[in-house]
């Protein structure tokens, strides 16, 4: 099988038909790969925090490593939700206006909830 179906000029430009090529697909995989270790580490912390009080949770998130994992997880996870959710909307919502509105709402929701979560982690880390 041919290894690469793109023309040399297309490869040199690095663009696709919509001027972004496989970027959406690639970022979905990139965030997926990042999420494997990040979610597993976070799952470990959450399991260790089952039944713990708020002080213990706060103390854990004031450690640099868990805080960093939490921040990276928030970025990768909400980015992954934005990308995957957009594909689902594009597959099932056919009315043009509703589709665009749903994608806009998804993008806004991911950014707002993601940044709010990141702000919470930063506030805990810096002892707020």
């Amino acid at each position: 099988m041919q290894a690469n179906f793109r023309t040399p000029l297309a490869r040199a430009r690095g663009l696709g038909s919509a001027k972004e090529g496989v970027t959406h697909w690639w970022r979905q995989r990139l965030t997926a790969m990042a999420l494997i270790p990040l979610t597993l580490i976070m799952a470990g912390y959450i399991l260790s925090l089952v039944g713990a009080d708020r002080a213990t949770v706060v103390a854990t998130l004031q450690e640099p490593f868990p805080a960093l994992v939490a921040l990276l997880l928030i970025v990768a996870a909400f980015w992954h939700v934005k990308l995957g959710g957009q594909v689902i909307i594009e597959d099932y919502v056919h009315a043009h206006g509703a589709k665009i509105a749903a994608i806009i709402a998804l993008n806004f929701a991911c950014v707002v909830v993601g940044l709010a979560s990141a702000l919470a982690v930063l506030r805990l880390f810096f002892g707020g």
Binding site: R29, A32, M33, L35, I36, T39, L40, A43, L47, S48, V50, G51, R54, V57, V58, L61, A70, A77, F78, V81, G84, G85, I88, V113, G114, A116, S117, L119, A120, V121, R123, L124, G128
Partner: protein
């Protein structure tokens, strides 16, 4: 009449621009009349491991996306203060909270395992039907074991 002409022309090179200019109809109006083959009805289609696991990947993805709100709520409540944390704690440890968390955990481990399966396909591995069925069942078994195992540890930690 337009329907017959459309069925005749819609594959022809540039048949479409001829059709739209002749009929005065828009592109979408004509396409709605073209009788193209349709996909098999899901109701009469036998569920197979390939299709069931595929739609489960999407479903669990949606569950995780919505479930991420719970994770966000937990983090934000911890940052806001003890009162806000008590509310989220009360919800998580209630029976409905535990049920949601069990669904979230199952969705997480399924989506994780099947996502790894997808990454394997992206690297060109395991495309044969026997390999696809084997990896599919492996994902289901792994997801069940990981879900039950993590809940077992969770209850063991809590005492």
């Amino acid at each position: 009449m337009w329907q017959k002409i459309a069925n005749f022309l819609w594959r022809a090179p540039d048949g479409f621009s001829i059709l739209t200019s002749l009929s005065g109809l828009g592109w979408e109006e004509i396409m709605a009349q073209v009788q193209r083959p349709i996909a098999p009805h899901l109701q009469v289609y036998k569920p197979q491991i390939s299709s069931v696991l595929s739609i489960l990947h999407r479903l669990t993805g949606v569950v995780l996306g919505i479930g991420a709100l719970l994770f966000a709520w937990w983090l934000i409540a911890a940052a806001v203060g003890p009162k806000a944390y008590m509310v989220v704690e009360g919800f998580i440890y209630s029976w409905i909270g535990r049920l949601i968390l069990l669904g979230f955990t199952g969705s997480f481990f399924y989506h994780l395992c099947n996502g790894i399966r997808h990454l394997g396909w992206d690297m060109g591995c395991g495309f044969s039907l026997p390999a696809m069925r084997r990896s599919g069942w492996a994902v289901v078994i792994a997801a069940v074991i990981l879900t039950l195992g993590s809940w077992f540890i969770g209850y063991a930690v809590r005492g």
